[in-house]
């Protein structure tokens, strides 16, 4: 509104809502810590091939396969039950976790957001049909349904992603629908409609930008949930198949009578899962505070 006069006495720095949010976020120490944690993790996952000392499936011993960590400098974190270098397994596990953790919310948001937008904006019979679809999809707990679907399509990384995405699109749909219901009758939408904007333009150009921050926050919280679910399914032995490394599967294989001696098998992936979760929840909390200043304290 005010164009600062060149050389005027008080030139205000240009401020945008996103710039403000970024500033609030960077001042939040926990959120920045979480972000750094996630960046490290992303780096490890991305450059797993370079960082890992050995091949994922390479077995070094077949007899008495386990090796405790910090004993043999060739295998600083020891060997697992199949005689594979544990450091390598952990590094590749990061790749699996992040792959599942990012692609599952991405796919489920790609399904849920358009459906939710349509349902909330149009209402009427479209809303009715989509809502009945939601009713059916939420009839059983998502994890149980994922478990069942996985038994139908079989194990493996792609199938785990598929199954979790199929059960994950409800949340983004509900959220988007609620946002669109709230904005549908707002003045700026009415005026856009009066000016003859198409529905697609109103949905994508006018309402969605206003609804983006709760969706973004929800996305950040959906990532750790997907990682959680993958780890859980693999822990039960029906998620990721060998030789792909998965932290959840590694925790599961570490449990048994030898857990006190070969503690590393269960302990290290547990710590990594916990740090990943911590990173995402700190970043999510930080985003929530940065994007929604009314709610923050």
């Amino acid at each position: 509104m005010t164009t600062p006069a060149a050389g005027g006495p008080a030139v205000l720095p240009r401020r945008s809502p996103w710039g403000d949010a970024a500033r609030r976020f960077s001042r939040n120490r926990l959120a920045m810590f979480g972000l750094i944690l996630l960046l490290c993790l992303g780096f490890i996952a991305l450059f797993a091939d370079v960082l890992a000392p050995y091949e994922v499936g390479q077995a070094f011993r077949t007899q008495r396969a386990y090796l405790r960590p910090f004993i043999n400098p060739d295998h600083p974190l020891g060997l697992d039950g199949a005689g594979r270098d544990y450091l390598t397994r952990l590094i590749y596990g990061a790749r699996t976790s992040l792959l599942v953790g990012l692609s599952v919310p991405l796919i489920s948001f790609l399904i849920g957001v358009p459906l939710g937008a349509l349902s909330g904006y149009r209402g009427g019979w479209i809303d009715f049909v989509i809502q009945r679809l939601v009713d059916v999809a939420t009839a059983i707990p998502p994890l149980l349904f994922a478990l069942f679907l996985l038994s139908v399509v079989g194990s493996g990384v792609e199938n785990v992603i598929f199954v979790l995405a199929i059960t994950g699109w409800i949340e983004p749909l509900r959220l988007t629908r609620a946002q669109f219901l709230a904005y549908r009758e707002k003045d700026f939408v009415l005026s856009a409609r009066a000016l003859g904007a198409t529905d697609l333009r109103i949905i994508a150009g006018h309402i969605l930008p206003n609804a983006i921050s709760p969706l973004l926050i929800s996305f950040t919280f959906a990532v750790p949930l997907a990682i959680f679910a993958e780890a859980g399914l693999s822990f039960l032995g029906i998620g990721i198949t060998e030789p792909t490394a998965s932290w959840g599967k590694m925790v599961g294989s570490g449990i048994g009578s030898s857990v006190l001696v070969y503690y590393h098998v269960a302990l290290f992936p547990t710590l990594l899962v916990a740090f990943t979760m911590l990173g995402f929840s700190f970043v999510g909390d930080g985003l929530q505070e940065a994007l929604d200043p009314n709610r923050s304290r």
Binding site: V136, T138, A139, P141, L147, G248, I255, L260, T270, V273
Partner: protein, 324 residues
């Protein structure tokens, strides 16, 4: 109100029907069958006989029809995989109370302790006690239950010299005159299961109470010279805990249908464990029975939740028109 409930019940019935069709078709779409799994080594003749005995040789539509007509009389047939092939209804009636017991204890523990922790943390904001609550809450949210369960098993079982058979760890009775509890039956599962909802409840309570504490009516109450206690109970808690209902109630169906991981790790014969084993064994009748039960429980608890909202907050109307 009655009309609304009836409509919701009808909708639930419809949803259960659709879910049963989907699950039935998907389940049977996988090649092979329950009796061709693994190294059972049935001869083709024996296999055909078994399939005839359980009606698996009939076309899909006829089998679904048979299932449906049985299910309407609460008869889901006989389990393929549970020892002695008992009726599915019997297995469920045995398993559900176990899950329910753990769920109810979990609700009591997590809700009371969580609300208490949240209130204290909000009241003593930015002190060590607030940090402790926040730390516990973060831990409960960031650690998957199966990991917590595993480490508790290690910690309690091995470190206390209780031996390596969890079924032998016994907790002395809580009240005189009651039976002692198996550690794995109640104490450890409830503790593990409660951690996540506890964390959630504590977080929301803290936020909600902190919100109310900074509200204008609290400042007014302070200005009037009311005591801290009176402000807390009369003004803050009343306003802060009502919105909590929206957080608490959706947790309940989750807790009543049990956790897969906790039941698998602790070896609890509840719904969750049977769900996993019947899926891996392709125990068709058990899968159908369990899916329908879970769908029913979820639907009913959500319905009750919605009704409770209207009782607590008179602004919410169920039908959207007229009186609720």
């Amino acid at each position: 109100m009655t009309g609304y409930i009836l409509r919701r019940l009808l909708a639930l019935l419809f949803v259960m029907l659709v879910v049963s069709v989907i699950v039935f078709v998907l389940m049977n779409a996988v090649p092979g069958g329950p009796f061709s799994l693994g190294e059972r080594g049935y001869t083709p003749d024996a296999l055909a006989n078994l399939e005839r005995k359980y009606g698996l040789d009939k076309p899909l539509v006829e089998r679904y029809w048979n299932f449906l007509s049985g299910a309407l009389q609460l008869d889901f047939g006989y389990s393929f995989a549970v020892a002695g092939s008992p009726p599915v209804t019997e297995v469920i009636l045995r398993a559900w109370p176990v899950t329910l017991h753990i769920g109810l204890y979990t609700i009591m523990l997590s809700f009371t302790l969580g609300i208490l922790m949240g209130i204290v943390a909000a009241y003593r904001r930015n002190t060590w006690i607030d940090n402790l609550v926040t730390f516990t809450a973060t831990l409960g949210i960031t650690l998957p239950s199966f990991i917590i369960a595993t480490f508790l098993l290690i910690l309690f079982g091995f470190q206390n010299g209780w031996g390596d058979n969890p079924r032998e760890w016994i907790i002395p009775p809580l009240f005189p005159g009651t039976a002692p509890l198996l550690a794995t039956d109640y104490f450890l599962p409830v503790f593990t299961y409660a951690l996540a909802p506890l964390a959630l409840v504590a977080r929301y309570t803290r936020a909600s109470v902190a919100d109310a504490l900074s509200a204008d009516y609290v400042r007014t109450a302070r200005a009037k010279g009311l005591t801290d206690r009176r402000i807390m109970f009369r003004h803050v808690l009343r306003n802060a805990l009502i919105p909590m209902v929206t957080v608490l109630l959706p947790q309940i169906p989750n807790l009543l249908t049990g956790s897969l991981f906790i039941e698998v790790v602790y070896g609890i014969p509840g719904l969750g464990k049977f769900f996993v084993t019947s899926i891996t064994n392709r125990d068709y009748p058990m899968i159908m029975g369990l899916v329908l039960l879970v769908a029913f429980l979820w639907g009913i608890t959500y319905l009750i939740t919605d009704i409770l909202y209207t009782l607590i907050d008179p602004r919410v109307r169920l039908t959207g028109r007229g009186s609720a």
